[in-house]
Symmetry: C2
Subunit: 482 residues, 2 copies
């Protein structure tokens, strides 16, 4: 039973100013989101962490279905020969896949990889199914886990296995595929803002950073507290790269055989890391209300006094009936003070304290997790008041994150200025860029900073690329990234 003593118990949360990475590790462990598994680089998602993923799933799944998509399931294992069909794709993924070589006691004739993403196996099936333009578009999505063998891993942010959804669509025309690519990116932006309260910078990836096999990759990028960016969702226009490699054809309107136009798009458990690093503080998690598994915790004060428990139980029932995710903590083991700390650490957006005097006065004390403010609320119409306050918290958190991001976003006009800023006050650098891969690679090699995206909203900051002096082509967002 030696493992009991060895237990890695986090006693306190490191201050983020002192060591951001350690702060992150402390928070995810101490709030019971996740644990390390016996297989290096693989995480166990505990109930409180999984509930966050269920919130994301439920938001996205609804929007996918509203936009005409259906869920499907394709096999976990992909034959090596399929992976090899699209040249750029195999070069991008082969170095990081897990290989199954034996089934039971027999060695397999052909190795199978555990899916790192499913373009290849899905295209092999689309090629079998598609016959005519009348069947198009195929608008399919799957929820599953994928494996990518990573060397340096951190829970949620980069793990050898993660949970995600991957959408895979094919269309009659290039225009429709491009529309779909951007439609899904927009759903990700909406999810980030409306559910996670995280503002995103959206745009196209440079060719160097795009998905292996894509014509164009679009991305949403969030800025963390420490000034590093987190790629939070991508949508790829795959054009006909895979449909040609996999010989997917259909009889077009003119009777000719044509190749369809293809997209794929994905979001993963990585988003949970973003929620932690955008909203969290030195007391722990700060969860946006629409995502929080517990939106409101009720803590009775002097709960042994007559009428208190009855009162808070009635309040609990009222909030629950209104569809609010509410928890009543009437345990007698812990003091109210202990409970305040516990639910603050766990990021519960709103705490309601109710004691004998509050009951007498027809009020309740409400403590907001995001601002740590306390306000007195009328007991009457509690559900309506609480709902409105949760909404206020959501928009305040989104606004706070936007301000924090904008404060860490700099226009840079010279390479020197760029280097200073990226070291002294990390964040997004907005800069002009020549568009050349060699220039981008050199900046990365020298500074560790990458182009996060060529944003949809372009600004003209000058005529030359500050990194190489050549004529500027695009304005880009650059940052160190997770």
């Amino acid at each position: 039973m030696s493992n009991k003593q060895e237990k890695d118990f986090v006693k306190d949360i490191t201050k983020m100013e002192d060591d951001f990475a350690q702060w992150y590790t402390d928070v995810i462990k101490k709030t019971d989101l996740v644990d390390y598994s016996p297989v290096k680089g693989f995480m166990v998602i505990k109930p409180y962490g999984y509930a966050l993923w269920e919130g994301i799933q439920s938001f996205l799944d609804k929007r996918f279905k509203e936009t005409g998509h259906q869920n499907v399931y394709f096999p976990l294992l992909i034959p090596e020969s399929l992976l090899n069909k699209e040249k750029e794709h195999v070069e991008g993924f082969a170095p990081e896949v897990a290989w199954v070589t034996h089934g039971g006691s027999e060695e397999l004739a052909e190795r199978l990889c555990v899916r790192p993403t499913s373009e290849t196996i899905i295209c092999s099936m689309y090629s079998k199914w598609l016959t005519t333009y009348r069947e198009l578009p195929y608008l399919y999505n799957q929820w599953c886990s994928v494996v990518r063998w990573e060397k340096a891993t951190r829970p949620f942010l980069r793990t050898s296995e993660f949970l995600w959804q991957e959408g895979h669509t094919i269309h009659e025309t290039a225009e429709e595929a491009q529309e779909e690519t951007l439609r899904m990116l927009n759903i990700y932006i909406e999810m980030a803002e409306e559910l996670l309260a995280i503002p995103m910078v959206a745009g196209r990836k440079s060719d160097r950073e795009k998905f292996a096999g894509a014509e164009a990759t679009y991305t949403i990028e969030a800025l963390m507290h420490d000034g590093k960016a987190l790629q939070s969702g991508t949508s790829h226009n795959l054009a006909q790269h895979f449909t040609k490699a996999f010989d997917i054809t259909f009889q077009g309107r003119t009777g000719e055989l044509e190749y369809p136009h293809h997209t794929s798009w994905g979001c993963s458990t990585r988003l949970i890391g973003g929620v932690i690093m955008v909203h969290g503080d030195n007391r722990g998690l700060v969860l946006p209300p629409r995502l929080a598994p517990i939106q409101v915790v009720i803590v009775p004060i002097a709960q042994k006094k007559e009428g208190v428990l009855e009162h808070v139980n009635a309040l609990y029932d009222e909030l629950k009936a209104a569809g609010i995710r509410v928890k009543l903590d009437d345990s007698t083991e812990n003091s109210p003070g202990w409970k305040f700390n516990e639910y603050e650490m766990k990021g519960v957006p709103l705490r309601l304290e109710v004691g004998p005097r509050d009951i007498e006065n027809g009020v309740m004390m409400a403590a907001r997790r995001d601002t740590l403010e306390k306000v007195t609320l009328e007991r009457a119409d509690a559900a309506q008041t609480v709902k409105a306050l949760l909404d206020t918290i959501h928009y305040d958190m989104l606004e706070k994150a936007r301000i924090s991001r904008d404060e860490k976003t700099y226009v840079v006009k010279s390479y020197e200025e760029f280097k200073t800023k990226m070291v002294e006050t990390p964040g997004f650098a907005k800069a002009m860029w020549c568009g050349e891969e060699a220039c981008e690679a050199e900046v990365k090699a020298e500074t560790g900073v990458t182009i996060r995206c060529i944003p949809f909203e372009q600004e003209n900051l000058g005529d030359t690329c500050p990194f190489c002096g050549k004529p500027a082509k695009h304005m880009v967002y650059m940052a160190k990234a997770y």
Copy 2:
């Protein structure tokens, strides 16, 4: 493009009386539930098939949460050394697991198996987490896929990968673990009856048939049209077999270290095979209304006539607003007759036909898929009428399945009678049994028939085991099984 010509198009559905296995294959292919993947034994679940799984997931997930369970996620890959810790378990599963031996280009120091089930990895974490009885019970569940390398596979019924849920709980006392084991079995029974309209025989597995590592396995067994049984869900009381092997301990109420009592329980995509083989007929699928992705299809008649499309669109909106999963097929490519066939084949429980004369008379023609009867319904209060009719269909299907099962259930008192019945009119044999594994093994070797369960509802059919003549111990249900 040669694969286009080779396409395995099912033109017609084989009659089930002629070849039940071929009927099954025809139905799943022609109704687009599933397809074969490039990896032998692995299936692709298409949208119409996946929607059935989503129905099952949504029913069960709600019930799991109502009974206090939370969802979690444990890694896909399990180190060989963990699998080896429980002796019976490794013997049961090692011959059928897929082994990952390489990550990227490197050979792994230890092989990892793709989870065939997750008791071992979950127990390794429980051992790390648990400290005191105050934390018990752990009531966790996960939705995922598992891989078991199968030689002979059939979509849904037996595949090398399938989707399932696996619940894993630990409890302070043996009584609580036994209660949990039966609670979850009862939820499966409820799901089968209330959602799938399938009556189940429930009971305990013989030791020979129980889960590798279990103290006792409980099962629900359904009878298919062809008289073969389908094990449809199992719930295992694992006692302290794994908790001891994995050194999971807690400080008990007396201060002593104790091992918790353990259960696991699972249901899979196999249930979809059961729905097909219990309810289907020679026209194709017959889906129970509460599971059906499309509950009602509206087919307009003479839809070019003035007012018809307006009328059916209003009907569609009305039914949809009432929460009915309704489809309006107003395509002009296909005739109403073609549509009747198509949705009958796809098992849509109710078809509404509405033409100019119906509109004039304020009625609609309703065709039930289960009985193929046609009835005239009043257009007024359509949503209410349709909902009631869908409920009637559900209970009629459940009753029909019960009658069909009971007609194929025989009391057998001699081995000869047993052998004749099992060949001439396959079904459930109810028989007494001595309780000995050797006897059970011999019957299986000679007839291919296995003990499906020792049912909770015991009857005394005699004093001796008809197979070996020894004193009888239990009444059992026996059948050939999928």
